[in-house]
């Protein structure tokens, strides 16, 4: 094993020179939304702790979450949640070996983008 050629192999394309395309962008967004959801989840846990502490502290936390800034974060989190959920479904489909052709992957990519916006609007209306 120690004498395997490790020097003359093709390199994967560097991010800087790689032409952006729907699949790479939707994949990056999936990672971004998943990790960014930390912010919303910290706020929700904090809100729960405040609710457990008492009415006064709850008023502070609830006030911040329902302020303009808080509402923006919550709206962003709802969208991120739906985006990440739909992108996750695409991964589950891919894991079965289906939908890996570029055309189908692109179709599902648009489904994620449009679907996440539609579901976000629906969620805001219902909530």
């Amino acid at each position: 094993m120690a004498d395997v050629n490790r020097g003359n192999r093709p390199l994967s394309p560097h991010l800087q020179i790689y032409r952006p395309q729907l699949n790479s962008m939707t994949s990056i967004m999936n990672r971004l939304t998943g990790n960014a959801l930390l912010l919303g989840s910290v706020l929700i846990v904090w809100w729960l702790i405040a609710a457990a502490t008492g009415p006064e502290y709850f008023a502070t936390a609830d006030g911040l979450l329902t302020s303009i800034l808080g509402k923006l974060v919550m709206l962003g989190s709802i969208w991120a949640l739906w985006y990440h959920a739909l992108a996750g479904v695409r991964h589950l489909v891919w894991d079965t070996g289906h939908g890996l052709e570029v055309a189908m992957a692109d179709k599902m990519g648009w489904g994620i983008i449009i679907g996440s916006v539609v579901l976000t609007v629906l969620t805001v209306i219902v909530i």
Binding site: A2, G34, I49, A52, P55, L65, A85, G88, T123
Partner: protein, 123 residues
């Protein structure tokens, strides 16, 4: 001739027998979250901005409490694994180990804090 040992070659590339553990755990938690997320959004979301007494009453309801508790457990388990992948992709060496440990501490910390708060409200 290079002095690359087999040990050196496989280090950090996942061990035998547990190599698919991470993948499988992500698959299971994704499916669970597909069920839990809508339930959580629509049962928990409307509580934001409600008076304290109403929130306490609502979260004392077993269905809401169970959904919220499961959401906390599964989300932060999924989050821990996902962030670990991010760190493995971009961070190297000792910083990687420290970052992954911090992620695990943060995930279980938030999960625990949320669960205790929920228990205090619900009981």
């Amino acid at each position: 001739m290079t002095y690359m040992t087999d040990r050196k070659r496989v280090e950090g590339l996942g061990s035998a027998r547990s190599g698919t553990g991470h993948f499988w755990s992500m698959t299971v938690t994704s499916v669970a979250l597909l069920i839990l997320t809508p339930l959580f959004l629509f049962s928990f979301g409307p509580l934001l901005g409600q008076p304290h007494a109403d929130v306490v009453t609502a979260l004392s309801h077993p269905f809401r409490a169970i959904i919220a508790a499961l959401m906390l457990v599964v989300t932060f388990h999924h989050f821990r694994l996902g962030v670990a992948t991010l760190i493995e992709d971009y961070v190297r060496g000792m910083a990687r180990k420290i970052a992954i440990i911090m992620t695990i501490i943060l995930s279980y910390g938030l999960m625990g804090a949320g669960l205790v708060a929920l228990a205090q409200i619900a009981l």
